[in-house]
Structure formats: structure tokens, C-alpha cells
């Protein structure tokens, strides 16, 4: 067992713990904070089920963005859909045995990776080119894009430049499940890739990546438009009636 393997094992344990605990904390916070008034942006569904469908469409299709900014939608979609494919492709490193379906859609992952990095590059470029977007950009917005691009590029590095022994990587990951630290191949693209992924997991619950859980908690989207039909009262507001 090398020091490198121990370091990476520790890093991944810590980052996974931060991600899970941090997200659990934020989701609980979002869940429990009251929304005292009905503020759905109308026209809105009049039933709660309808409102959930609205949120699902936002989360899956970025519907509002589609009507808001078509170009941005295309590149945001390329990035997010690409990322989704890549994540699915990566499941094979975490599941044993690999299900047939997963093996089947395996090759798509590479195209997903390309769409992801391509989309990200455009998103980065527009932060410098469009004056309005440049104005609202903070250093962290650029760093976040660079981090994601770095993850994508290092991933490609493993596939095309510096072929990584994926069997060994998988053994390392499966070992982590049972707290058995196995040997991690000391290949630079892999190490960079894992390091950046760990970093991403750590910043996730503290950054704008909170839009991932947050999209489900936005009152303007997840509320049913039924204020005349049902009385809506937050606990703290009820106290005023005393």
C-alpha cells in the first residue's frame, strides 16, 4: 500500500462525507424554511401534482431557459446532458457486476464527454465576451467552469493519451466500500481527475451548485396556484393571529 493510495482514499472519503453531509444539511434547511405566501409565477398549475410536473420539466428540460435564451439553453443542455451521460458511463466503476444495459450505452459516454466539455467552453467564453455576463461574473464562476473543464479534459486524457488501467481503478473503488485500501495506479491524468472530482464534491454544498437541489425548492415554481381555494398559513404567521 503506497502513501498515494492512502492519500486518495482519505481524500475521497472526506469529500464524499462533506458532499453528503453538506447536501443533507442544505436540503433539510430548504425543506424546513417556511414559504409564508403563495408566490407561484402564473400562469401556473392549479394542483400540487401539476406543480410537481412543472418542476420536473424545469429540472429535466430547462423549460424557462428555453424561452428565455435559446443559445444559452443549447449550450447549457449540451453540458448538463453530456454530464448525465458521462455519469451513467462512470457507473461501471461503482457497480459489480456491470448490468448489460449499462455496458450497451457505454460508448455514448464519450460523446457525452465531448458535449460536456464543448458546452463548458462556450459557457466560459461567453463570460468574457458578453458585457452583461462579464459584469455579473465573479472569479468563482470562472474557477467553477475551469474545474469542470479540467475534470472533463483529464478524463479524456485517460482515454486517449495515457491509457489508464481501469481494472485496477475499479478494484481501488470497490475496495473503498469495504475499507480495504487497494493500490491506485499512479498515472497523472487519473490522479488529476480524481483530485478535481474530490474538490468538486467538497465545494458542491457551499457553492452555486446548490442549484441542483434548489431547483426543487423554488416557491415560484413548486407551488400550486390555488390561494383562493386553500388557505395557506405559515406557522410563524399563524402566531400573529393570536
Amino acid at each position: 500500500m503506497t502513501g498515494l493510495s492512502v492519500f486518495y482514499a482519505a481524500l475521497l472519503y472526506v469529500s464524499a462525507a462533506v458532499l453528503v453531509a453538506g447536501l443533507a444539511f442544505k436540503i433539510r434547511q430548504y425543506w424546513t424554511t417556511p414559504a409564508p405566501l403563495k408566490i407561484a409565477v402564473t400562469p401556473a398549475p392549479t394542483t400540487q401534482a401539476g406543480a410537481y410536473v412543472r418542476v420536473a420539466r424545469e429540472a429535466a428540460l430547462f423549460e424557462s431557459l428555453f424561452y428565455s435564451n435559446r443559445w444559452l439553453w443549447i449550450f447549457a443542455m449540451a453540458f448538463h446532458a453530456g454530464l448525465a451521460l458521462v455519469l451513467v458511463r462512470h457507473l461501471r466503476y461503482f457497480i459489480n457486476p456491470v448490468p448489460d444495459l449499462l455496458a450497451l450505452i457505454q460508448p455514448l459516454g464519450v460523446y457525452g464527454g465531448m458535449a460536456m466539455v464543448g458546452g463548458l467552453l462556450v459557457l466560459l467564453l461567453r463570460r468574457f465576451v458578453i458585457d452583461r455576463v462579464r459584469y455579473i461574473t465573479r472569479p468563482s464562476d470562472v474557477l467553477m467552469l475551469l474545474l469542470l473543464i479540467g475534470i472533463g479534459v483529464s478524463g479524456f486524457g485517460m482515454k486517449f493519451l495515457h491509457h489508464t488501467d481501469v481494472v485496477a481503478v475499479k478494484a481501488f473503488i470497490m475496495g473503498l466500500y469495504v475499507f480495504d485500501i487497494r493500490e491506485l495506479p499512479a498515472e497523472p491524468p487519473l490522479l488529476a481527475h480524481l483530485f478535481m472530482v474530490a474538490l468538486l464534491m467538497i465545494v458542491f454544498p457551499f457553492s452555486k451548485l446548490l442549484h441542483v437541489p434548489g431547483v426543487f425548492f423554488s416557491p415560484t415554481r413548486n407551488q400550486a396556484d390555488d390561494p383562493r381555494e386553500k388557505r395557506h398559513l405559515a406557522a410563524w404567521a399563524a402566531k400573529l393571529e393570536g
Partner: protein, 498 residues
């Protein structure tokens, strides 16, 4: 009053987005409330000494009370989709009038005091501590937001800048930095019952005068009842309807509709205001106190239904908040929604034949309609989503032979604010009001030139006041602005069909 400087922007074709002009509106500031406006509402009379800590404490309190604030401050990805959606940015080019940048005025402070990243990484994530300059920016730019929520419609997460600007105003009020316009008006409602501070005798006088005018003009004894116990309907309308133009012509229209329907109705001198400026300052308690007047009047006058007149912000509070603030309304007739909009009544009466309109009375006009932001994006008027667009159009088409809609990017849920909503309808803000009207005027010019539109109907007291004031700067006559029920008033056939 000192003359306030202003400039009128040149009109463009509708989708034109300006280049940013940093600082363009940074000096524009509405009058700050003095102790006489602040203290009756329970706010400190002047900026408190330890305002930084007090503001942070208040922000912490609001973060625990409003899911919107909590989630929206965290989740913005700075995608920029909202940056070209605010009429104040489109009209002024000031980047702090881009919705996300407006939010960032609060988000930067939030990050600094409330998030680990802000504490550790500081300016890397934009975190900034309080300074006097930042407070000035808050005051100026959170009073250049009409809380119209156009940005929320277009944001991929529905981030609602109105929620942020309401919270910001509440925080500022709590540290003694209120806005004179809003707080003075709220004080008048608590004291007298309406935004204009019209006492009961003046109200009686006005309504009697209207009865005489309508009798002279039509030969029909149309009543404008006040404080009539046992009436079927309590009617609540913005106080501007009592004498501003063209509002009052709308009031005459409502009265004719009630008259012709044979529906007994009354207004209340105690609840003589539909508008609820408590919403503008984001203060639940103030909003509740104002709303309770309506509940109390309804109980006292023993009515069975509550109906609201034409007003956008009023209708948002009425439709979306009244039940929360002042409900439950189980003492009213359960067959009707509480409250109802006058447009629902008029439309229903046209459909059932209870009133008849002769649209030839408006044959000299080509009419378009301005969808008020709060009606469009925060309410309905009937059971179906979108009824807030269809009902006024139905009524207008029944009352006017020639009706034309403006561009789809400027109507229905995409409508642009008139530029005067959310507590901005005050003279010292005329510069931003003119600029904020620009997208609406561009859409209007389009139908004037293409279809010969002569009039724009409006269903909101603020929109009507704002447009009559601002359209002339763009070369249009103030008389172009009409109340929806003014057009109904022209066309309605009185008598003979009972």
C-alpha cells in the same frame, strides 16, 4: 418641489438590448422617510447607530422565515438569462438594474455574513461586508425594482428578484432607512383607510357628485353606495378610482355594471383602499394589518361576497395573499371565490346576458391592452390558468369593435411593467419611470404604426397614473390610456333588460 432632472431614451425596436452603462442610475434616490413616516409603523425614525449588525440580524431572521430568500440567495448560477429581461435595465442600461446584479447587492452581503465560502474565500465568491456605499446602493437600486417578476418568469430556477427587493426594503425599514413614498402612504391607510388620505366626508361628497354626473349624462340613477349594511357585495377599489383620470371613468363603469346586474353592492369608508403597500416594503405584519381592514369591513357590513376593482398590485395581494393574511372567509357565500375580480363579474354578466354592451359606442377607437405585471404573473381571474389574460380581452372585445394585441414578447405573462409599480410612483423617481416605460412604449408604438391603435386599456391604478404621466414624454397623449371599465361604461346599455 424642485424639478427633478430626467432624460428620455430614444425608442428602439423591441428586442434591442443596450450595452451596459455602469453607474447610469446610481444617483437616483427616492426621498427617505422621516421619523413621522417611520415611527407610526413601528420602524426606527432614523438610521440606527449599529445599523450593520442590525441589518445582518434582520437578514438572519428573514432567512429563517422565507424559503424564497434562503433558496434564491444560494442558488443563482449567474447564467445571465435574466440580464436582458428587466425594463429598468432595458431603459437605463445601468447594469445594477439587471435582476441578477440587483440580487447580488444582497447576495454579496449574504455571502460575507452567512456562508462558509464567503467567510473563507471572500471576494473570490463576491462576498462583501457592509459599507455606507453598499447601503446607498441598496436604497437606490432596491427602489428601482417594481417587483414585477418578469425576471422570475425567465430564470431557469424561478429566482424572484421581487422577493429579494421586498426583503431588502424590510431590512432597511428595520434599521431606520425607509422610503417616504411607501411608508407615508401606509400610515395614511392605518389612520384614514386609504392611500390618498381621503376622509369619509370627502368620499361621500365625491360619490354623490358621481351619482349626479351619471344621472345627468345617462338619465339613469346609478348608485355609488358607501357603508350600506347588508349589501350583497363589498367592493374594494384603489382610492385613485375616486378621482384620478382615467381611473374614475372606470369606477363609473363598475357602478353601471352593478346597477345593470341588479346586484346590491357597497363600498366601505373603513376599507376604502384596495392597494396594499405593505407588499412593496415586504412587511408581512403591515400587509396583514391593511388586509384586516377589508375583513373587518366585510363582517361589519354583513356582505356575502368581496369584489375588487381594477388594480394590479391590489389584485395580487387580494388574490394570492388575502386568504393567508385575513382568512378564513367562511362567513361569506361559499359559492363564490374570495375575493373576486370585477372582470370576472363583468365577463360573467356579458355571457349570461345580464348586461348588454353596444360596442359601436367605442367605434372611434382602436384599442390594445396593457397586461399589468402583477395580474399577469401572480394571479388568475377565473378557474383556468391564463384567465387573467382572457377575461380582460373578452370584456374589451365585447366593448370595442377594434381590438389589437401588442407583440407576444410584451404581453400576457411576458408583459413589461408600466415602469411605475412597486413603490416607484413618486415624482422624484420620474427619470427611472420614464426609462422603465421604454419597452412598453416600443411595443405600443409598434401597434400604433402598424394597426392605427388609438387607445391602450389598463386594469391597474398604478399603470394608469404612470402612463398618463409618462406617455407624453414619448410623444403620446395621456388620454390614450383608458380604464377597461371606462370602455365598458361607454358601451353598456342601461335600463330595459331587467
Amino acid at each position: 418641489m424642485a424639478k427633478v432632472p430626467y432624460t428620455v431614451p430614444a425608442l428602439d425596436d423591441l428586442p434591442t438590448v443596450p450595452r451596459i452603462k455602469p453607474g447610469a442610475m446610481s444617483e437616483l434616490k427616492s426621498y427617505v422617510a422621516v421619523a413621522a413616516h417611520q415611527e407610526p409603523l413601528g420602524f426606527p425614525g432614523e438610521l440606527v447607530e449599529n445599523w450593520e449588525q442590525a441589518a445582518v440580524a434582520k437578514m438572519g431572521e428573514l432567512l429563517g422565515k422565507y424559503k424564497s430568500l434562503r433558496v434564491y440567495l444560494d442558488m443563482c448560477v449567474k447564467c445571465g438569462a435574466c440580464t436582458d429581461k428587466c425594463h429598468y435595465f432595458l431603459g437605463s442600461g445601468d447594469p445594477k438594474n439587471m435582476p441578477v446584479a440587483r440580487q447580488d447587492l444582497m447576495r454579496d452581503i449574504y455571502r460575507y455574513y452567512f456562508t462558509p465560502t464567503g467567510k473563507v474565500l471572500g471576494s473570490l465568491v463576491g462576498a462583501k461586508p457592509w459599507t455606507k456605499e453598499r447601503l446607498d446602493d441598496w436604497y437606490n437600486y432596491f427602489h428601482q425594482c417594481s417587483q414585477c417578476r418578469r425576471c422570475s418568469l425567465f430564470c431557469p430556477y424561478g429566482i424572484d428578484t421581487a422577493e429579494i427587493s421586498m426583503a431588502a426594503r424590510e431590512i432597511m425599514d428595520s434599521i431606520g432607512l425607509g422610503q417616504k413614498y411607501c411608508n407615508e402612504i401606509i400610515g395614511k391607510v392605518h389612520k384614514i383607510g386609504n392611500n390618498l388620505g381621503l376622509p369619509e366626508p370627502a368620499l361621500v361628497n365625491t360619490l354623490e357628485g358621481l351619482e349626479e354626473d351619471v344621472l345627468d349624462a345617462t338619465g339613469h340613477a346609478v348608485k355609488f353606495p358607501l357603508d350600506v349594511e347588508g349589501a350583497e357585495v363589498l367592493f374594494v377599489t384603489p382610492s385613485a378610482d375616486f378621482f384620478a383620470e382615467p381611473h374614475v371613468d372606470g369606477l363609473i363603469g363598475y357602478a353601471k355594471v352593478f346597477h345593470q346586474m341588479g346586484l346590491s353592492w357597497t363600498m366601505s369608508s373603513y376599507a376604502s383602499e384596495a392597494g396594499n403597500f405593505g407588499m412593496f416594503i415586504g412587511n408581512y405584519e403591515q400587509m396583514r394589518k391593511i388586509a384586516m381592514r377589508i375583513r373587518e369591513a366585510a363582517i361589519q357590513l354583513k356582505v356575502k361576497r368581496i369584489v375588487f376593482g381594477e388594480c394590479g398590485h391590489a389584485w395580487r395581494v387580494a388574490y394570492a395573499f388575502l386568504n393567508s393574511l385575513a382568512g378564513p372567509f367562511d362567513f361569506l357565500d361559499p359559492r363564490y371565490p374570495v375575493p373576486q375580480h370585477i372582470m370576472e363579474l363583468t365577463r360573467g354578466a356579458i355571457l349570461s346576458g345580464a348586461i348588454k354592451l353596444d360596442s359601436s359606442a367605442n367605434a372611434d377607437k382602436v384599442v390594445t391592452v396593457h397586461d399589468s405585471c402583477n395580474i399577469a404573473r401572480a394571479t388568475r381571474m377565473g378557474p383556468e390558468p391564463g384567465s387573467q389574460f382572457e377575461y380582460p380581452r373578452f370584456v374589451l372585445q365585447a366593448a370595442c369593435p377594434k381590438f389589437v394585441d401588442m407583440h407576444p414578447d410584451a404581453t400576457r405573462e411576458r408583459t413589461f411593467c408600466c415602469g411605475g409599480g412597486g413603490g416607484l410612483l413618486t415624482d422624484e423617481l420620474i427619470d427611472i419611470r420614464i426609462k422603465g416605460a421604454k419597452p412598453r412604449v416600443e411595443a405600443l408604438r409598434d401597434v400604433v404604426e402598424q394597426h392605427g391603435v388609438t387607445h391602450m386599456a389598463s386594469m391597474c391604478a398604478i399603470c394608469k397614473s404612470q402612463f398618463t404621466k409618462v406617455l407624453p414624454y414619448y410623444g403620446y397623449e395621456m388620454g390614450m390610456v383608458q380604464s377597461v371599465h371606462q370602455l365598458v361604461s361607454n358601451a353598456i346599455l342601461l335600463g330595459g333588460n331587467s
